[in-house]
């Protein structure tokens, strides 16, 4: 746990540096309320997926969830097709919105439980299992939507989630922070959280200690699936349409965020607040490069550099080296 506080400090510092730098190159427009809102609105879809990846990683034993964005698209597509067949997004706006959200979340949870069952009951390595389900979910979404975009439209409630503001903050961002807070509390204060982390630290000891391994794994992947469902709702709310091939690049970005946030790929450790901050940092950096008119290839480079920096910070106590006082206290 020695370096984990350092990770948080680093993340805060990077976020601030990015804000300052962005303001400097854009002559201030980067910090305009509209851009802050715009960036906050872009964040939740990838943020939810990153928290899902974090949960899977914490479970240890090579835990990872590659099916996140595929499941998000599937839940949006299935929900839009099913709900759209008996409710109209124009005439029954509230009912459609609620049914759509419920549908997407149910599909997300079911997909997550499916992952959990395969991993815990059949003992399939998570990376292979979720790679398989990723293709399965994508394929299902293609079949259900016949390869086309499915129109969700902008019924009141849903479009409010996608475009509305609450006290000047995009509602999708408020939802994201609230859900992130809930997950953080779940990890910190419930037996589930403790089981998950301890199991990730030492799976064998966890089995001998009599942890409900299967249940914990299923719950973990189900939560990850629920987050995918939420991402699906946000995508639909913002984009008016849902499509099976949306966000194919999100898969690696979500993993990048989790690793940047100091989640241990071996399992057993990860903090939601760090994931949120890492997601914000990536968003800031990508928006900043667009503001500066730099090529998007620079962005890939910069993300890679950031990732390596964070891995270095995680491995060697860089923050401690730079601040002698602190390292003395901690050692």
């Amino acid at each position: 746990m020695r370096t984990t506080g350092g990770q948080l400090v680093m993340l805060v510092a990077i976020n601030v540096a990015l804000l300052v730098f962005g303001a400097a190159i854009s002559g201030g427009t980067f910090l305009s309320p509209f851009n802050l809102q715009s960036m906050a609105g872009q964040l939740p879809e990838i943020g939810f997926l990153a928290i899902g990846v974090m949960l899977a990683m914490c479970a240890g034993n090579g835990g990872i969830d590659l099916s996140g964005i595929a499941l998000a698209n599937l839940s949006g597509v299935v929900s839009a097709v099913v709900i759209g067949s008996f409710l109209s997004s124009v005439d029954q706006q509230a009912a459609y919105s609620l049914a759509f959200i419920a549908g997407a979340l149910v599909v997300g949870v079911l997909g997550g439980i499916f992952n959990g069952l395969l991993i815990s009951r059949l003992n399939i390595t998570p990376i292979l299992c979720t790679l398989g389900t990723q293709m399965l979910f994508t394929g299902l979404a293609v079949v259900v939507s016949e390869g086309r975009a499915v129109a969700v439209g902008s019924p009141d409630l849903l479009s409010e989630i996608g475009n509305g503001l609450f006290l000047g903050v995009p509602i999708s961002f408020v939802i994201f922070i609230a859900v992130a807070g809930l997950i953080a509390a779940l990890l910190k204060f419930t037996p589930f959280g403790l089981w998950l982390m301890l199991m990730g630290t030492n799976p064998k000891a966890a089995i001998y200690a009599g942890f409900p391994r299967t249940k914990v794994l299923i719950a973990t992947y189900a939560t990850s699936g629920l987050l995918s469902g939420l991402a699906g709702v946000i995508i639909a709310a913002r984009n008016v349409n849902v499509k099976w091939d949306y966000g194919t690049s999100y898969l690696l970005i979500a993993i990048l965020i989790a690793v940047m946030a100091g989640v241990r790929p071996e399992g057993g450790y990860g903090r939601v607040v760090c994931v949120v901050l890492a997601a914000i940092a990536l968003q800031l950096m990508s928006s900043m490069l667009n503001f500066g008119g730099l090529s998007n290839f620079v962005r890939d480079f910069a993300w890679g550099a950031l990732l390596l920096t964070f891995l270095a910070v995680g491995r060697y106590n860089v923050v401690g080296l730079l601040t002698p006082n602190k390292s003395k206290k901690l050692v």
């Binding site: 002559g27 910090l31 851009n35 715009s38 960036m39 975009a149 129109a151 949306y246 008119g293 006082n325």
Partner: protein, 336 residues
């Protein structure tokens, strides 16, 4: 640790406050800014479009015109660029949508903020002020297929490639191609609509598979800019150059070797440079509150007398006549 992070937090909060405070003074931008957003950057097609945007900038010093594009072919990445540009406060957006349906919500937000939106290769885009097309898509698909049929002698197995099933123009071209092939009853369509994702290597692998599966295949009709390169290489390596016909969208320069070798029968294209200039010209006109009317001259070759009709949404559909189909004999006239 607690003290240190508090110090850092406080310091950073102050830094942000200072920068935010000085922000207003620097916002002096009086020239209209037109941002061109392409599907993907770093490929020949959109590099050529960028030369058009640069040319437009040179000819029109009273605007600021630049081109942006994602590094990966993902509609979500393009969406983020558009969202950021809206927040940056551009006056005009000239977008070549990766997937028009994904951009609807964001383009609507842009229009609500008073930004002029011009699209290209998206005649089904509802939330746009004007969609600029180089030519009528059905005519183009038909012309490609007719050239293919001529090469195949009107008979044999043939197949089609599209960038992705969501690429509307590509689907229209192969659709019009299929319709045209019905006039040649001996042409048999096999395994249609292969997705290439505009990736020459992936297309090459797929074309090799098809050549193995159908050793007697006679023709390919392709859509995305890199498809002819992938399929052409597969035909060339199989020693089938001149025996299997390949007609598709492509650029003269990258296709030159394969055209000379006979692996590519003919390429069809419109000049993305001109399309980029036309989009920007329309955006500039609309920003200046001018109208683009039927028969208008955009001042860009191929767009001297455009056809203007009502689009699927509030906006208009502007169609030029920039179609070119070139083969071994005449491609050198269009080198770019």
């Amino acid at each position: 640790m607690g003290v240190l992070s508090k110090k850092i937090l406080l310091g950073s909060a102050m830094a942000v406050a200072i920068v935010a405070g000085s922000a207003g003074a620097l916002m002096a931008q009086n020239k209209p800014v037109i941002a061109t957003v392409v599907k993907i950057s770093g490929i020949p097609w959109f590099d050529r479009m960028e030369t058009g945007v640069k040319q437009f900038q040179k000819d029109n010093p009273d605007v600021v015109a630049t081109q942006y594009g994602p590094a990966t072919a993902d509609a979500a990445q393009q969406l983020q660029i558009v969202t950021d540009l809206i927040a940056k406060g551009v006056n005009g957006l000239a977008v070549v949508p990766m997937d028009p349906s994904v951009l609807e919500g964001t383009l609507k937000r842009a229009m609500d903020r008073g930004i002029i939106v011009v699209t290209h290769e998206a005649d089904n885009q509802k939330n746009t002020h004007a969609d600029v097309e180089a030519f009528d898509n059905a005519d183009y698909g038909k012309a490609l297929n007719e050239r293919l049929a001529q090469c195949m002698g009107g008979k044999g197995k043939w197949t089609t490639f599209v960038g992705s099933l969501g690429s509307r123009t590509h689907m229209q071209w192969v659709g019009a191609g299929e319709a045209n092939a019905k006039m040649h009853p001996e042409m048999v369509l096999v395994d249609p609509n292969n997705e290439s994702f505009d990736d020459a290597n992936g297309t090459y692998e797929k074309a090799k598979e098809i050549l193995r599966k159908h050793p007697d295949i006679k023709g390919f009709q392709t859509s995305a800019g890199n498809d002819v390169l992938g399929v052409g290489r597969a035909i060339d390596e199989a020693g089938l150059a001149g025996k299997v016909c390949l007609v598709g969208t492509g650029l003269p320069n990258p296709s030159a070797d394969l055209l000379d070798a006979g692996a590519i029968t003919a390429i069809g294209f419109w000049d993305p440079q001109k399309a980029g200039m036309a989009m920007n010209a329309v955006a500039k006109k609309l920003i200046a509150k001018e109208k683009v009317e039927d028969g208008a001259n955009l001042g860009v070759p191929g767009y001297e007398k455009v056809k203007v009709t009502k689009g699927p949404g509030e906006g208009v559909l502007i169609v030029g006549n920039g179609m070119v189909i070139a083969d071994k004999k005449n491609y050198k006239e269009f080198l770019f």
